[in-house]
Symmetry: C2
Subunit: 413 residues, 2 copies
């Protein structure tokens, strides 16, 4: 079944206009085995809307449109569809009663222009919207299905979930489903992953893709299976295969995060952690505490932004800062060991660096970061040169610190 | 001039597929006074692409398409356009020489399938792409302009900026420009702003919109002016008007951030700041240090996640925690005063709360947060009940803390 989505609303034609409704609908349609073949984003101009509906009806069997069915003069989606398929609009008394009742229960007079919400294309099925005032409609024309949904995301999702999904399932005749899974990789860059997975990239062409994010690479897989169970089985096979190829660089699947994985490892061991941050300014602690239940293993963080704070809060010897500079392997080590000792935790992390864009020197450029991880077994210190904006350097520094801690925790398992 | 954008690539039809190219192009076109009337996102299926180009040529005078002009078999954009307008493809010797030279200079043999990159629609203008291998093309057909650009964002931007912009400026006959400005509001929710700006919302209908973000509201204005200077003048008038209506709730315009504004106020006064965080886990410190030069006023942060850390690092009396609980106005006050005293700064902030999703009680629900701001003049403590996910509660807590500090700093100005 050929499917397309039409997103209606001039705000989505602005430079900031990201249409999240179509992303939600794509996810839901994929789960039914339906692939979206085209998306259109269009404003509230009736003439262009009529043309858009006509083109869509020529190409596709299922068309889902969102937006433009509200009570204002801008909302012309229903009229445009009627024009495109040559139908009349008609007042639905049941919807009108519902709307009047809704206002009455709030003790408010019924605004006359809301009658527009109860006017629907002749012969269409009303999709109730108890979380708003604009009901959706479903029209079948020449064995093609056109579904109009509200544009407000939570209303759209409610109506889709409660009035569209079951009916769609009935008419979807495909016995296959399309499923997607995302795997996350840390500690390798995109071309390294590409190189390690060269054969797979060639073999699964079109069904595998890499996406580089901040500090991690996503491997996105798409499979077609008879059903969910078969798709899961294929994904699990791929996962075992990827683990073999990528080793511990494979962080996990789906919504997995590095801070979540590190948290799990600490919890498994019953171990505790404290961190001492300079250039990251608290970001590492914030990421660690994004995980619910992190208070079980995260004891404290010290953001020692000034040298005085490094000396006072972390017992970093003043001479060490004077002889090596605040951004040095020696100070990273002293910070990690200091925060571990003072807070009596099993692990301590120290980060010191130059986030930029100012403050760099020829010897110590912007992006230079030293990270120390202290444990009972000793302290490991690494040097990094990180590229990008201030926020990116901060993020990558926190990422590298978590990666180092993960390696130390995995080695001791 | 009617304008539309076609984004080509099956990856953009996935549930994660956000098409950033069209956002960039929209911004650039708006600067030329051109409004985008329709956007299409489509995969690499030739037949659908041909139909898409035909529809676009019927509706619009300027069509910019991105993607699908690479060297692989998937890349069918140029062929589809030729089919739509009935032209032949032809080999461009100059492009071929450039490509061969590019490979030769890297000491690599020329892969035969790259010849496809040098094959262009007859009669088209080649748009050079020195940052990649796929040149763009510009075709004029029946006084309509079709521009094909690479899909890789930095290549697309390069080619647009260097080969498209000047030519577009020449053919744009409109003597008007469309400009946008964003204003940011803090400390009010969307319906409060809507209420305060009721008249403006009605008067500027279609040219003003509100967008609620985490902790702030954006007011987006669109104006049509004869030129940039006139647009700026109109925006400045609006800004003065908004300031009158919204007072200090109006944070500023454009990319302004609360942490940036607070930083400026601290710098103006030559004042220093230290923060003590519990439920935000370091996020407040991280946001403050997102600002370049924040080391001038930010002294340190203490992430006192455990009660022991609150006692040891911040001198919060143990009895206070025992009698009132860690999440209490008394402890927020003691944290703010403790961190200010110990770090000898002008201002101190203390945050304690329950980020959730677990850890709430009937008395102290998830989202309960106390924030203290200590200064020479005394300590102000406020209570908040914040809604949403753990990350959202953390973000709003940091936001409220910065708002409170801003108010204290503004009051003393």
């Amino acid at each position: 079944m050929r499917v397309e989505i039409i997103s209606i609303g001039s705000e989505m034609l602005a430079p900031e206009g990201v249409d999240t409704n179509s992303l939600y609908l794509t996810r839901e349609l994929n789960r039914l085995g339906l692939e979206v073949q085209l998306k259109t984003t269009v404003g509230d101009t009736k003439e262009i809307l009529v043309d858009t509906f006509k083109s869509a009806l020529r190409r596709s069997e299922l068309i889902i449109a969102t937006g433009g069915i509200g009570p204002t003069a801008d909302d012309v989606t229903k009229q445009a569809l009627c024009r495109a398929i040559g139908r009349q609009m008609t007042l639905d008394e049941e919807v009108l009663d519902y709307l009047k009742d809704r206002f009455a229960r709030r003790g408010k007079p019924f605004p006359p222009h809301f009658q527009q919400q109860a006017t629907i294309p002749q012969g269409s099925l009303v999709l109730k919207n108890p979380v708003g005032t604009a009901p959706g409609v479903w029209i079948t024309e020449n064995q093609k299905n056109v579904i109009l949904l509200p544009g407000v995301p939570h209303e759209m999702e409610y109506v889709f979930h409660n009035s569209v999904l079951l009916r769609l399932r009935e008419i979807v005749k495909e016995s296959q489903i399309l499923d997607r899974r995302v795997f996350k990789v840390v500690g390798l860059n995109e071309s390294e992953v590409d190189q390690l997975l060269k054969e797979e990239m060639a073999e699964l062409k079109g069904n595998i893709s890499l996406l580089a994010g901040w500090g991690e690479i996503e491997i996105r897989l798409k499979v077609i299976g008879r059903d969910k169970a078969e798709a899961e089985r294929i994904f699990d096979q791929y996962e075992a295969h990827l683990r073999q190829k990528l080793g511990s660089h494979l962080l996990g699947k789906g919504e997995v995060t590095l801070e979540g994985v590190v948290g799990e490892l600490l919890r498994e061991k019953g171990a505790t952690l404290a961190v001492a941050e300079s250039c990251t300014g608290g970001l590492l602690g914030s990421r660690i505490t994004d995980i619910s239940g992190s208070s079980d293993y995260f004891n404290r963080g010290i953001v020692a932004y000034s040298n005085v704070a490094k000396i006072e809060e972390l017992d970093v010897p003043q001479e060490l800062i004077e002889s090596h500079g605040a951004v040095s392997p020696e100070v990273a080590k002293a910070m990690a060991e200091g925060v571990r000792r003072l807070s009596q935790t099993d692990y301590g992390i120290g980060i010191t660096g130059i986030a930029g864009p100012t403050g760099g020197t020829p010897d110590k450029p912007v992006g230079l970061v030293y990270i120390g991880v202290a444990s009972e077994a000793g302290t490991r210190v690494e040097k990094f040169i990180l590229l990008g904006s201030r926020k990116k350097v901060k993020f990558q520094s926190a990422q590298k610190a978590l990666e180092m801690l993960r390696e130390v925790l995995l080695a001791k398992r």
